[in-house]
Symmetry: C2
């Protein structure tokens, strides 16, 4: 089964972490929460979810993981201010491993300069940033690009996002 690196910090969009993570685990995959520090409890912006991180970013390498998961909210904006998370993200895109990004998750992909020419979607506020980064943006619940990159817009899209992400983990 797959070992999924999850980049997450405070003010993540609660359900965009909890629901896909639950589905991934139920399918037998391992979800590993990575932040700046190991063992830190980060909180969702709705106040519903807390996640205790499994690893600090300096303790992990991209090659230890099979896939990358980036929940949205205001977590990706904070993580992309730290070049370590940008380079970690870039490695999954360079290696063509499955990458699942929802809502503001694509902000990390923009900073990794990994979206030029890709089909993708994301939260409406970052649509223009994605387009300026070279994305062919589609206003759809889920976009799967080159059997590798799964993106969705918002919490309403979680079922489609989770379904397509699980397909790539099986494939």
């Amino acid at each position: 089964m797959a070992k999924i690196a999850t980049l997450i910090t405070d003010l993540f969009e609660d359900s965009e972490y909890t629901e896909p993570a639950k589905a991934f685990k139920e399918a037998g995959h391992e979800v590993v929460a990575i932040e700046k520090e190991t063992g830190k409890t980060v909180k969702g912006k709705q106040g519903n979810a807390k996640v205790t991180t499994d690893h600090g970013i300096d303790d992990v390498k991209p090659e230890e993981f099979d896939a990358l998961f980036i929940p949205g909210g205001f977590s990706p904006d904070q993580l992309r201010a730290d070049e370590r998370f940008v380079q970690f993200t870039k490695a999954f895109m360079d290696d063509k491993k499955p990458v699942f990004a929802i809502c503001h998750g694509p902000q990390l992909l923009i900073s990794a300069k990994a979206l030029e020419g890709r089909d993708a979607t994301g939260y409406q506020s970052i649509k223009i940033d994605m387009e300026n980064a070279g994305v062919k943006y589609a206003d759809k619940e889920v976009v799967v690009c080159q059997n590798q990159l799964v993106t969705s817009r918002s919490p309403e899209d979680i079922p489609a996002f989770t379904r397509e992400s699980l397909k790539l983990l099986k494939g």
Copy 2:
């Protein structure tokens, strides 16, 4: 004295509103807080500041104001998801009125497609979004472009940001 429209909602960066607003008022200017709704109390992300909005966006027109102020934090990202705030912002840029944007404030200017070829700065996480939008980005405490647009990077830059903004209001 100038009447300054201020676009603000929850999770603004506390000091990026409170300190410039205090300086603007002390210099005799009027600071008018505008959100989706009139009379709503919005809270800063540090938990230190609260602002009760003076007007809902539907109750004001850009031509009623002399200048625009956009504090940072996660406020601008939420406001730019609403086209009314984007068009309001665009009007000040089109009319070449003074615009003061700090930290994530330039996100609204990106959505207004008002930054092509401009000299500006902003929070490090949005540097790539600003560059992709055509900005000549400078890593400086304050950038003044064409005697109209004042931008800064973060709370540390507030003194320079406020100083240059006040100069334009006098000019």
